[in-house]
């Protein structure tokens, strides 16, 4: 088990499978608010669902309406369980606050692989990699 230490943003603990993107995510227009599927053209997570994942990406971008999209995803039960960013930006921070999704940043997300079982602690700002997925990326 490895532990990465970052900065706490939104408190709460959550365990789940990581879904890791190298690209910024725009929640408005980038993710289908009904299903949680990534619909942004040319995105490295295109057609994958953020539902129930620990979503790892560098940072958010795009409209501040994206915060509301994150809230709707959570309300409909198709949002991520936790969020890990390299650098938190206002859109995602506000979204995680209102949706009450545990969130940390200042993490080197290249240390985490899609499918890894991870545990996020939004109070301490840490993520534990409990089990690495058996694949190469």
């Amino acid at each position: 088990m490895r532990e990465l230490k970052g900065r706490p943003i939104v408190s709460g603990q959550s365990r789940g499978k990581a879904l890791v993107s190298k690209k910024p995510i725009s929640f408005l227009g980038g993710i289908d608010p009904e299903t949680g599927r990534v619909v942004e053209k040319d995105h490295d997570l295109k057609d994958q669902s953020v539902k129930g994942t620990v979503l790892c990406f560098p940072h958010g971008h795009g409209s501040t309406v994206g915060s509301y999209v994150l809230y709707s995803l959570a309300k409909k039960g198709v949002g991520p369980k936790a969020i890990i960013n390299a650098t938190a930006d206002p859109v995602v921070v506000v979204g995680a606050v209102i949706a009450e999704i545990p969130m940390i940043d200042h993490i080197d997300i290249s240390q985490i692989g899609t499918g890894d079982t991870v545990e996020v602690d939004g109070e301490k700002g840490t993520v534990k990699i409990l089990e690495a997925a058996a694949h190469c990326t």
Binding site: P33, S67, Y68, P90, V94
Partner: protein, 391 residues
Amino acid sequence: MHLTREDEKTYDGELGWAYQTSMRILVKLGEIFGATRLIPIESAHASGVSYKTIGDAPIDFLEALVQAGAKAKVASTVNPGGFDYENIEAMAVTREIREKQDKIIELYRKMGVNPVLTCTPYYIEAPKRGAHLAWAESSAVVYANSVLGAWTNREGGPSALAAALIGKTPNYGVHQPENRRPSIHVKVETVPENEAEFGALGIYLGKVLGDKVPVLEGLPRAEETHLKQLGAAMATSGMASIFYPCGSCPRRTEGLETLTVDRGTAKGAFEGLSTTSEEPDMVFLGCPHCSFNEVKRIAEIIRGRKVKPDVRFWVCTSRYVREKAEADVKTIVAAGGRVVSDTCAVVTWVKELGVETLMTNSAKTAYYAPTMNKVKARFAPLNQCINTACR
């Protein structure tokens, strides 16, 4: 970040979920951007109203706030919506869209937010010089900081709403005097001659300046409406929230990095805003929304003329200004144009009206329209726009 006892109680949920969530938004943003405390604001202006741009996403959250009893603590206003009831026959809106848009506006109203539905709330009531604000509309933010001398960061829709409900904002960014100081000296070699040239200059500057605070030398006697276009454009292509225009301003610029904008650069920026030279099927003036004097000026130019039958001629302004400018509105309507309030060509459905080519004097609109409205853009000053629209 230091919180007062009151703030802490709110943060801990003593006033309920709506205020707790709003306080958490403000505190988290404050922590990330290095605020030391929350400061009282004079007013808030939220974006995130037009159903065309925001869709269904915010409805759930706004509804939850209303149900939890959220009420604005300070004078609060919102941006344009998706259509104008008074010109409903000219709008491409279905019953479903109308219902959704009405619902969004009603939710804001229930929170005590005044649905002025304009991007120029300062024409209704200008903020006091030196007042702290939490405004979200980027063109209004630049105007407030640079022309009106008020102090506001570029808020997002949710953070401006949170500030409205709490009556405070975290004191980072341009709420701190040191972040309002000029950091670059821009020498504009050719004085822009009209609002479109000011706008084109703004698009260029927004792209190259990042978050620097420019002193813009070479803009003597610039009209407020010209500065409105300049600032709106800077915020469209960049991160700007404040600039200082002047004719010659040696003292404030000592020791600063300098950037020279020559005639060729300005001309290139202007030409880059047109994606076509075709005849427009829509001519749109009023981004940002026209002032009383701008409506008057348009009326004076178009008086006695006729808009071509196959051209839609829209002048967009606030409901407040439209009511005040009744005589001028009649003149524009008599010429075959429309004076549209509560929305604008960018945040309503124009492609769905059959519009292919949009002509405008707004650099912000010319910059956005090809992507946000999927139409071709033709960019020219006001006189030329009116001449093209008319027979």
